[in-house]
């Protein structure tokens, strides 16, 4: 099986306004947000809508991906397409929202890729199979990993409610 392909390459400071424009924020349910992913990047949005982007495909970006607004739609819209985001760094709230909803983020400082490249994403490094370059992965802090391991924040909180002894 081949490694997942890079379907979109973006620069630094990609804000949640680009990922999920504010004018679609009246749409809130995670089941309804995927249609507006990267709505202002018309061509890519149309590829998503046409089902031309397989689950597990990779978006590569620079520093501070997901900066700006706390809107959770920016995460649920990407999660709906099962995209994986590999970036040099992420905005804080976006990162936390992704952990909470189970969107896979990979922080790989210095990562370089072009559209169409294949990326093998491991726990400690990202290998650009096409270019042969390797990039170290910065692991998530353990506190966040616990939420991922629980299957997201809803399941994590539900467990706290049902078994309060697991809490503080």
């Amino acid at each position: 099986m081949s490694a997942p392909a890079v379907v979109l390459v973006l620069g630094d400071d990609v804000s949640t306004d680009v990922i999920y424009p504010g004018r679609y924020m009246a749409t809130v349910l995670p089941s309804e947000t995927p249609q507006y992913a990267f709505a202002d990047l018309g061509a890519f949005n149309r590829r998503l809508a046409a089902g031309a982007v397989p689950a597990g495909s990779v978006v590569v970006a620079g520093k501070n991906f997901g900066c700006g607004s706390s809107r959770e739609q920016a995460v649920s819209t990407l999660k709906g397409h099962e995209l994986v985001i590999v970036a040099e760094s992420f905005g804080r709230i976006f990162l936390q929202n992704a952990v909470n909803l189970g969107l896979r983020l990979v922080e790989a400082p210095g990562v370089k890729a072009a559209e169409g490249d294949e990326l093998a994403i491991g726990a400690t490094e990202v290998v650009n199979v096409t270019s042969g370059r390797r990039f170290a992965v910065r692991p998530l802090p353990a506190a966040r990993q616990a939420i991922i391991d629980a299957g997201g924040l809803i399941a994590y909180t539900r467990r706290r409610l049902v078994s309060p002894a697991e809490g503080r």
């Binding site: 504010g22 607004s69 936390q96 909803l101 802090p141 539900r158 409610l161 503080r168």
Partner: protein, 431 residues
């Protein structure tokens, strides 16, 4: 080891004698704020309880605040239906800190919370809005979270897995020159730090320029701390905070300021002297693309916006009215004004500011988030340029990816309204 203000707040809220940077804590939440996105919070909240046999009830409805501001009055049936669902939830759960679409007690959440005395020094405040950082102006630790995290707070009463952030100390000295204010200071700082320069960090503000700044200006400052990536901004509470709470927010009971320990450890210190600071402009399409106004003076603007949670307070409107009184908005541009709350709107009416602005040709709208995030009113045409006192200029922010947004202070915005081009408010421009 001494603690920063935020460390002291997190230690208290987590029931610990001290916390160190990087510790994972679960602080009790004093105030949990949402706006229209409470519709999503409610959905996620119910999801948490699914199949548990436990009735979904928030841990403490008196600590929840819900403020409609993003789309007021509703711009679509979809928003109106979301707002209706939130109203039903508010009534069923007995949430009293609810601010509906009203001319008296409605407005933007980041003004409604302070002016009603909901935010106290030393409190832990979370909000489903990135500009929740604003409330650090009152000496609280306030940060933005997503809707699912808010649902978790509603269920548990505390925030799970919060890492104690490192703090950058910002010392601000000197007296602000005429026509230069808190907005210019924070734009300058975001430019210096960069859009991600303070990510996972707190900006703690000190210095004589901060001590001399009224709470309204501190709200502007902390509001935009997030534009440098910061988890929060915070001004340790002082005599001005106590004055604001008593005189403007009607808080009569004792409040307890929290300050940093003298030997608190900071990741680094940034010193700013405002004595010679020029009016600042953030150019498209990032907030850290900051230049002195002179670099872009003369550039045509199609729409000027004054208002928002950043600069829609009474002193902001006073500056704008002072510049526009007896003058006219250039026919080559258009001007929209959004006060931050109904209370401020009324104060601006009483002071004559609204009349000054309307007579000059500005359109004064109801309090709300308005065009700031492109969801409601004030859309830009293809190729148009906006000059705005709001807090973000990302591509597409005001609703049209083919437009450009410049960010500035109320003084720059008002002076530019007269000319129709970006104008330095010092000297002739501001009269």
């Amino acid at each position: 080891m001494g603690m920063t203000v935020v460390q002291r707040i997190l230690a208290r809220a987590s029931g610990r004698s001290e916390v160190a940077v990087g510790d994972v804590v679960e602080p009790a939440v004093d105030l949990a704020m949402s706006h229209e996105n409470a519709a999503l919070v409610i959905n996620q909240f119910r999801e948490i309880y699914r199949d548990t046999g436990i009735e979904p009830r928030p841990w403490d409805p008196s600590r929840i605040a819900i403020v409609f501001d993003h789309r007021v009055p509703a711009e679509s049936p979809k928003t109106a239906t979301n707002q209706k669902r939130v109203r039903e939830f508010v009534a069923a759960q007995g949430i009293t800190r609810f601010h509906d679409i009203r001319g008296d007690r409605g407005g933007i959440c980041h003004q409604i919370l302070p002016e009603n005395g909901y935010v106290r020094p030393g409190a832990v405040v979370v909000g489903t809005d990135s500009h929740t950082t604003s409330h650090g102006a009152l000496g609280a630790f306030a940060f933005g979270i997503g809707a699912t995290e808010m649902a978790s707070v509603w269920a548990l009463g505390y925030a799970v897995n919060v890492e104690v952030p490192a703090t950058i100390r910002v010392n601000v000295s000197g007296a602000m020159p005429p026509m230069v204010g808190p907005k210019d200071l924070i734009l300058h700082l975001v430019g210096v730090l960069g859009a991600a320069g303070a990510t996972f960090r707190v900006l703690e503000f000190h210095g004589d320029a901060i001590r001399a700044m009224p709470t309204s200006g501190r709200l502007t400052l902390c509001n935009m701390a997030v534009e440098a990536g910061a988890t929060s901004g915070i001004v340790p509470a002082d005599a001005e905070t106590l004055r604001y709470l008593k005189e403007e927010a009607g808080v009569l009971e004792a409040v307890h300021p929290v300050d940093a320990d003298p030997d608190a450890a900071y990741e680094r210190t940034v010193d700013v002297d405002v004595t010679a600071l020029a009016p600042q402009i953030a150019c498209p399409h990032t907030v850290d693309n900051v230049h002195p106004v002179g670099d872009v003076a003369g550039r045509h603007v199609d729409q000027i916006v004054i208002g928002s949670c950043t600069n829609g307070r009474l002193d902001d409107l006073a500056v704008a009215a002072g510049i526009l009184r007896g003058r006219t908005v250039s026919p080559s541009t258009r001007m929209l004004v959004f006060p931050a709350s109904g209370r401020i709107y009324q104060q601006a009416l009483a002071a004559g500011y609204v009349a000054d602005l309307v007579k000059a040709g500005a359109v004064v709208m109801n309090a709300g988030c308005g065009p700031c995030l492109g969801v409601h009113e004030g859309a830009l045409g293809d190729g148009e340029v906006a000059l705005s006192t709001t807090n973000r200029n990302f591509k597409g922010r005001m609703g049209n990816p083919a437009s450009e947004v410049y960010l500035c202070s109320p003084a720059v915005a008002a002076a530019s309204a007269v000319t129709g081009v970006i104008t330095d408010p010092r000297g002739e421009g501001g009269r």
